[in-house]
């Protein structure tokens, strides 16, 4: 990995460190500029692009961002995040349709429900590491899938259809395209900011240390299971926020969102965009959703295209789009 490690006595000079500092600063300044442009673009976007498409992208972007909190910043590969995304969609849809909750409360029900599921799944999975962690999360999410398949309130194969968008806080009619779009954008930005804040917090600093060298973190007195579990619950809750929002936007909650393929899709989005980068997962989600939309009407099966893209990503740009861009800028 690092060719400098073996450089022996040839110690790097302090002036290089200063340059490194400056590079780091200019990178974070670039990040700020990108963020401002992206937000401006998203505010203007519904006037140029079909809003439902944009909202779908935002839901998946938030999902991937939440997933990246775990994979990119704690180093935990969960292969069961669909359970939280799809589960929250069911909870929110049920709350909005059957209980008559207004949309924001319904979404909160979904997110909190996902968080509770995250606590249960995380508590069981966190004891294992690496591939075993992934297998445990997969197994538990499959159990959750079958619960949702059998539970009466999900209506099995039909799903919960005709979920009302309703009036936000009883005031704003979300059936109007621009209203719901800006609502979704606001929730997305909130979730995105939450992940950014967690990553760049004292807690996030400890998470990175655990990712870098877990035993060393333990030997410094950190009870790492608690940190990992907390991160797992946070990730599950924000993934739930995304799934709940999707149920309100598309007015439907189905088995597709809790199925294991969805868990795989979010892995792909995150890797494609760049795991461990703030913007990468959102970009990856945008690329994947766009491809799905575009190829849905063509003769080529979407799964084949996505498979090819995944292979290319792993072979040619392992750090993902944003990861490779950052590497080029650091040169």
């Amino acid at each position: 990995m690092s060719s400098l490690t073996q450089s022996g006595a040839a110690a790097p000079e302090a002036t290089d460190a200063e340059a490194g500092h400056r590079r780091q600063k200019s990178l974070s300044r670039i990040g700020l500029v990108v963020a401002v442009i992206a937000v401006a673009g998203l505010i203007a976007a519904p006037f140029f692009v079909y809003p439902v498409f944009l909202m779908t992208v935002l839901c998946f972007a938030l999902f991937a961002t939440a997933f990246n909190l775990l994979l990119g910043y704690v180093g935990l590969l969960s292969f069961g995040h669909a359970a939280f995304f799809g589960g929250a969609a069911y909870f929110a849809a049920h709350a909005a349709k059957v209980w008559g909750f207004e949309p924001l409360s319904a979404i909160l029900v979904g997110a909190v429900g996902a968080g509770v599921m995250g606590l249960a799944v995380g508590a069981l999975a966190i004891r294992r590491q690496g591939i075993y962690f992934a297998m445990v999360t997969l197994a538990l999410s499959q159990m959750i899938f079958f619960i949702f398949l059998q539970a009466p309130f999900t209506h099995g194969e039909d799903g919960i259809q005709g979920v009302p968008r309703g009036d936000l806080l009883g005031l704003v009619d979300l059936n109007r395209p621009l209203n719901i779009y800006y609502f979704v954008l606001a929730v997305f930005l909130f979730g995105f900011f939450a992940v950014w804040r967690i990553v760049h917090s004292p807690f996030g600093h400890v998470l990175q240390a655990i990712r870098e060298n877990e035993n060393r973190a333990i030997s410094l007195g950190y009870r790492v299971e608690r940190y990992k579990l907390a991160a797992f619950v946070m990730s599950a809750t924000i993934a739930g926020l995304a799934g709940a929002m999707k149920a309100i936007v598309l007015q439907i909650a189905t088995l597709t969102d809790v199925a294991w393929q969805m868990s795989g899709e979010v892995v792909l989005m995150t890797l494609l965009g760049g795991m461990g980068t703030i913007f990468g997962p959102s970009l990856g989600a945008a690329v994947v959703v766009t491809m799905q939309n575009y190829f849905a009407t063509s003769d080529v099966p979407v799964t084949v295209i996505i498979g090819v893209v995944f292979v290319l990503c792993v072979l040619l740009f392992r750090r993902g789009i944003v990861g490779e861009a950052i590497r080029l800028m650091k040169r």
Binding site: L4, D16, H205, V206, R216, L220, G221, Y222
Partner: protein, 254 residues
């Protein structure tokens, strides 16, 4: 089981670790006196690192008891052992490779400052640890490197960083697992001086292969062979012990 010595800060009685029937550590009694530098030596495979892992609870002993400052820690979890003040290093250098030198040390500092669980606040708060972190980094001679990723440091400096990080916890007892392994003469001198300096007012237990370092640095030496204690005493006594010469010095071909 005999009683543990009252002057010992860290004691083990009847410490045994079995891996699938193989006794890697067999009935080891160990007393580490407060304020000493205590070496654990022995040929490869003698069980030195296993003893380390047992003392710091990274492994659970099959049998035996460990007492630290009068408290039985046999069933305490490794993170909590560290919190009690028994902090270890690892044979493979234990740094956080993709964090800067400054951040490596700040990770160790932030827990006791109550800055570990705050996920809703900015990590700029960690800036208040900078002064203490820089002081520790300076103490191990790494001031010029504080903005570097730990991975970029040469080997000897990584060990120095590891020591700075360990010192950040201000532990009464430090355990170093082969702190000089793989080092050139120049680095060995530097790290020896460093260990001597930080051992003032603390207790140090170290696994070490380099017998010159052991002779130079350590007050007391325990020799392990095949998982059992062969001899114990100061370096002069131990190095003249016939069994030790047979088991260890005789086979020394480094």
């Amino acid at each position: 089981m005999s009683a543990t010595s009252s002057d010992a800060i860290l004691s083990a009685r009847g410490l045994t670790k079995e891996f699938f029937g193989f006794k890697a550590v067999n009935n080891v009694d160990l007393d580490v006196m407060e304020g000493t530098i205590h070496a654990l030596i022995g040929p490869n495979g003698a069980g030195k690192t296993t003893v380390f892992n047992l003392l710091t609870k990274f492994l659970t002993p099959t049998e035996g008891r460990i007492v630290f400052r009068g408290e039985d820690i046999t069933k305490v979890k490794p993170a909590d052992v560290a919190r009690l003040g028994l902090v270890r290093s690892f044979q493979i250098s234990a740094v956080f490779p993709h964090l800067t030198v400054l951040d490596n040390v700040r990770v160790a500092l932030q827990r006791k400052e109550g800055l570990a669980v705050q996920f809703w606040r900015s990590n700029r708060l960690l800036g208040r640890l900078n002064e203490e972190a820089e002081r520790l980094i300076d103490a191990v001679g790494l001031s010029a490197f504080s903005a570097y990723d730990a991975a970029e440091l040469p080997y000897g400096r990584k060990r120095a960083l590891e020591i700075a990080t360990t010192l950040a916890l201000d532990p009464p007892v430090l355990l170093f697992d082969e702190p000089m392994a793989g080092m050139g003469a120049e680095d060995i001198g530097r790290i020896s001086d460093l260990i001597r300096r930080i051992a003032k007012g603390r207790t140090v237990v170290m696994v070490e292969h380099n017998l010159n370092v052991v002779a130079d640095l350590c007050d007391r030496v325990t020799v392990l062979a095949r998982g059992e204690i062969l001899a114990e005493g100061d370096y002069a006594a131990v190095s003249n012990d016939k069994r030790v010469r047979e088991a260890y010095m005789g086979s020394e071909d480094e």
